[in-house]
Symmetry: C2
Subunit: 154 residues, 2 copies
């Protein structure tokens, strides 16, 4: 039996550009909990580049944003003992591009909880490629309430 | 005669995901100087959504990153009196998502210089949709030197 990613298990119909399993033109990242962190592996396509051989920073941000969002949703679900993750949205995310990110081959994403409150979490994440941390991200992800357009969107 | 965007004029062969005129699967934003600021208009496709009706935050970041980068390149070019913009890369960018961004219809991007040094500029930008500022961004963009993989990539 193949293990399902968080997205495949909890939001199989999501059309999100970054992580929706149902968006065949999106990035379709797959995040897996590993102890206290979440991990994803993803392979760029040529049209995700900034220039030949290097991944675009906007795509890097999109990967880190969605992966971090799922780390937050998974964390808030476990903290409350719920059997489904809350619908979380991004309030902010800040990306540092430390060096050019090679676009050939797989990149790895890792995310962990830095701060946690009742309805939100601050997540720190990094993107590793070619054996080096090429980018980092810190973002705030908030569980939305009924009435928000994202509520029950999954 | 139709006015060319900064990207069409100075980097027509760029394959950048966010702003490359030669990347038919990219966002292909077109940035135009207007006095001291740069402006772009862009229309989302359905696969750029986060959920039905709302634009994905990663795409919002990608738009603001590339548009701000061109504001920086244009500014540094004018400051030095060069006839071509330097190749600038993103060092960091921080996005605040103030409210859900509607995905139906056009979004507007505006960018301005907040700080300027010899080889870099800090740019503040915003994304306006449905008459409201839905997201803001502050980023640092650096002109690369010979030897950097992005040098002379245009």
């Amino acid at each position: 039996m193949t293990e399902l990613s968080l997205q495949e298990k909890y939001a199989p119909k999501s059309i999100c550009f970054g992580c929706g399993p149902a968006n065949s033109q999106g990035l379709q990242i797959k995040s897996f909990p590993q102890g206290d962190i979440a991990v994803a592996h993803w392979t760029p396509k040529p049209f995700h580049e900034a220039f030949p051989g290097m991944l675009n920073g906007g795509i890097i941000g999109a990967l880190l944003d969605c992966h971090s969002n799922w780390m937050a949703a998974w964390h808030l679900m476990n903290k409350t003992g719920a059997d489904q993750p809350p619908c979380t949205v991004t309030a902010d995310f800040a990306v540092k591009l430390l060096r050019p990110t090679p676009s050939k081959g797989e990149v790895e994403l890792k995310a962990r909880v830095a701060e946690s409150k009742e309805d939100r979490a601050v997540i720190e994440a990094e993107l590793i490629a070619g054996g080096k941390t090429c980018a980092t991200c810190r973002g705030t992800f908030v569980a939305v309430k009924p009435g928000h357009p994202a509520y029950h969107r999954w």
